[in-house]
Symmetry: C2
Subunit: 212 residues, 2 copies
């Protein structure tokens, strides 16, 4: 719970920077400019420099940023050294997609337990992650504080209550329901239908520039 000085908009971009820096490092790149990074992550280069500047002077004028140094810096800033365990609630198609999604594996975040209602799934494993019954959350949730909610909307409220009761304080909610939680719990919503409708709306009402 350190410094609360970084703008939220910046904080949301940090994981993105981290991933691309990792790519560059893997590719053996030694240095990178805000302009290059800008083209890769599609964020204005001035915004990138501003974002970085909240953490101090990380680059060198006329040179750019040292990839390895910057990566190390973000690694500790994003607490990549300590692993955060996450529970997956709902092992349907969407839930399974998470379990198979390798980007979550090269990362400080691990889905270590999954929960489902279906008795046929309970007791099995997917990608090495054991599936427990939602009704046995108290036995199996352990110290996990973050959950991905990938269940039908109709069950969202009831399951959320269970999660909160068992100590979850962060929920990534993929259901279309806007769940209600106590103030100490943070919820981020990812709402496919809204995103898709918004995209279509923008296409119709916000004309883009022509190509050059």
């Amino acid at each position: 719970m350190e410094q609360n000085k970084i703008p939220q908009a910046t904080a949301k971009r940090l994981p993105l920077y981290y991933r691309f820096l990792n790519n560059l490092y893997q590719q053996g790149k030694k240095r990178v400019s805000s302009k290059e990074l800008s083209e890769a992550v599609k964020v204005d280069s001035a915004t990138i420099r501003r974002d970085f500047s909240y953490f101090g002077a990380l680059g060198k004028k006329g040179y750019g940023y040292n990839v390895e140094y910057l990566l190390g810096f973000f690694r500790s800033t994003l607490d990549q050294h300590e692993i955060t365990e996450v529970a997956l609630i709902g092992v349907g198609n969407l839930g399974t997609a998470f379990l198979k999604y390798s980007f979550l594996k090269n990362n400080n975040i691990r889905i270590t337990k999954a929960f489902d209602k279906d008795p046929n799934k309970v007791g099995t494993e997917v990608e090495g992650v054991p599936i427990y019954s939602i009704d046995e959350m108290d036995k199996h949730l352990g110290h996990i504080r973050v959950a991905i909610l990938a269940i039908p909307a109709s069950e969202a409220d009831a399951v959320t209550d269970i999660l909160v009761k068992h100590g979850i304080i962060g929920i990534l909610n993929f259901t279309p329901a806007r769940i209600t939680v106590p103030k100490h719990v943070r919820v981020h919503h990812i709402d496919f239908a809204v995103e898709l409708q918004a995209l279509v709306y923008f296409l119709k009402h916000y004309p883009l520039e022509k190509d050059e």
Copy 2:
């Protein structure tokens, strides 16, 4: 391509309002206040009133909003009368989740065609949606202008080029790749790993209030 006066932040919330208004209408509710709506969608009530006000005076002082009227208004604003067809690219777990996701069915947006590389999938149907080969996009894409990209990141750039070549102008990108497109194409990114890392970062660095 009408009035471009609505703030983008507002535009993004419209589909959300629309969905909840629909819920209320289904429940037989005749009127609703910005305060009630605020509790349902978790958006500040002043923001809701401001959002609505861009479209004129839709409510009545001391009364609130007439659900049916407001719903009708949003229906036409969001072009719910005309159906937008969408192509799904990639019928893995994530793609299948979209096809089964019923929220996209009670809606002006329909996934009508799917594409995949896997020869075992090509020629079959999932939830009544036919699956074609990505290599036969020219034959089957037809007039579709919007695509959901749900394929491995490694293929994102190549497939995007194909999509753009065949007239796609809106892409909802679920891959972690930041794809490059001509200026006339709009891309919205939904990046699971980034969202999850950002949630964890916020939990650690932005303490929430205590419960009452």
